[in-house]
């Protein structure tokens, strides 16, 4: 870029200070001719007064003057000289005075006597330099503004991304809830349709119980009636479970201490555990864990279900360990990652509850089926295979993750990952 285009000399104001009249006249003539706005001062004191009154772009300053010297002027009003380029004019430059002058922010030197050409050049050079510095500062300011804007935009983009993420999560939850609602309608339809005939069967059995000849103790008639009645109860139980299963569509979320949920769950199975004399239960609980946003009753249901499964997996006794801790998820997998169904991100801290037993374990081929509805290995008397699928549904609704690790003959561990409640906010 051509320097002429960069600044106009009319914009440059110069204060020329010298005690010699001839020198002042020279400044005035030459620099005014060049187009600068020139003011002169005949001594340091006058210079200071002028500087106080007006902000100059450039200061031509004689060092040796009676009264206030040039350096005295620089020291007198340093604030007013900020942004002003200073050219020292001296007949006898000493090292000392040079250093002192440079310390005070002097830009350049002119040594007396100087030719008009020298003066023109040096003033032009310093003025251009000053202009460049000013331009530069302006650009820096613009850059800073632009950078701030870019940062703001980035932040906005991230906010949008977060909002999008949240939307997607909500959508997943809605889809899940919708599925359950559809299943719920089916279940209540089935419940009604099947329970009517079941009611008729039971009333019919009650009738037969009255009418058939009564014999005490075991006999084919009593046995048959009992088998029919038990079968009706079993069918009814399946309907009830299916119905309950489909009813888990809404959560009553509150911030909870997971350890207290664990304690309540253990209390709920206390009696059952008392009967199992060979089963030992121990807790490995981390104190002071962050709270989780959960439906306490539903999570209790998950824990109780896992505890009862553990008991059933240890017909000959064994040990149940229930653990709680928080963990930074460093690797993808088991619900962490960027896939659509991943509720956790790598780098997120999750709250983890483990329920471990030393029971019979789960075979490799069954492992992939344990969360399927109606999958059971226990036989019809002990369960209909909805427990874990209900648990999975509950944990899915919490946007958590449940999975199992198991080795046949050694035991099973159910691992439940829950989201840590965000700081602040009421109950989310």
């Amino acid at each position: 870029m051509c320097p002429d285009q960069m600044f106009s000399v009319k914009d440059v104001s110069i204060l020329a200070v010298d005690d010699e009249t001839e020198v002042r006249n020279l400044y005035d003539t030459i620099l005014t001719e060049e187009g600068y706005r020139v003011t002169t001062a005949s001594c340091g004191e006058e210079a200071v007064e002028r500087i106080k009154q007006e902000k100059f772009n450039l200061l031509l300053l004689d060092l040796k003057m009676p009264g206030m010297s040039g350096t005295d002027v620089l020291k007198a009003v340093p604030d007013r000289l900020e942004g002003t380029s200073v050219i020292i004019v001296t007949a006898y430059p000493s090292l000392e005075s040079s250093i002192e002058a440079i310390k005070s922010g002097v830009c350049d030197y002119v040594i007396k006597p100087f030719s008009p050409k020298e003066l023109r050049n040096i003033v032009r050079m310093v003025a251009e330099k000053a202009k460049l510095i000013e331009e530069n500062k302006k650009k820096e300011r613009e850059l800073a503004v632009a950078t701030a804007a870019a940062e703001a935009q980035k932040l906005k983009a991230r906010e949008l991304e977060d909002a999008n993420e949240k939307l997607r999560e909500t959508q997943n939850m809605l889809i899940q809830a919708e599925k359950m609602r559809a299943l719920g309608q089916l279940a209540s339809g089935v419940a009604h349709e099947v329970r009517n005939p079941l009611a008729i069967i039971i009333l019919g059995i009650n009738y037969l119980e009255e009418k058939l000849p009564k014999k005490k103790g075991r006999n084919p008639i009593n046995d048959t009636l009992k088998i029919i009645k038990d079968s009706v109860k079993r069918a009814d139980k399946i309907i009830r479970m299916l119905y309950d299963f489909s009813r888990v569509t809404e959560l009553d979320l509150k911030k909870e201490d997971i350890n207290s949920v664990i304690n309540t769950s253990l209390a709920l199975v206390k009696n059952k555990l008392k009967l199992e004399k060979n089963i030992k239960v121990s807790k490995e609980i981390k104190i002071g864990l962050p709270k989780v946003l959960v439906d306490k009753n539903k999570i209790e249901q998950v824990f109780v279900n896992a505890l009862l499964n553990a008991v059933q997996a240890m017909p000959n006794g064994g040990q149940i360990i229930i653990r709680s801790y928080d963990k930074l998820l460093t690797e993808p997998g088991n619900g962490a990652g960027n896939r659509k169904n991943d509720n956790f991100k790598v780098g997120e801290t999750a709250l983890i509850v483990e329920i471990e037993d030393t029971g019979i374990g789960i075979s490799r081929e069954n492992m992939s089926k344990i969360f399927d509805p109606f999958f059971t290995t226990k036989g019809p008397q002990k369960g209909i295979g909805l427990g874990l699928s209900v648990s999975k549904n509950i944990i899915d609704l919490h946007r958590g993750f449940i999975y199992a690790e198991s080795e046949e003959g050694k035991g099973t561990k159910i691992i439940i990952k829950l989201k840590i409640a965000k700081e602040g906010g009421a109950n989310g």
Partner: protein, 128 residues
Amino acid sequence: MTDKIKILVIDDEPSIVDALRERLEFYGYEVVSANDGLEGLKKAESESPDIIILDIIMPKMHGFEVCKRLKEKPSTKHIPVILITGAGIEDIAKNEPALQAAACLAKPYEARKLSETIHDIVEKYLKK
């Protein structure tokens, strides 16, 4: 007229009505029946039953609506109603305050259980 307690069974399923009639008569009650809610409302007035056994899920008129209307009418509002449901008992519990039902039973129930329920209601509402 006898001193027998008269029970109105409102249920759209004839087999249930038959089975209930047999059992209830066996226990010594007089039984009248209706196959839907509208007929039930009429009979509740014309027959003046002592107790009404009301199925909830019925075509034409839902049991809750039947119950509500029974409780609105001065001539029937005093009659204790036993609600019978094939769905979860929780649904009834949720609606119960408004329905003012005397009792709720979930299908399938044993005749003995129904008989006990009726007995309790007689003790509570009908013995003066």
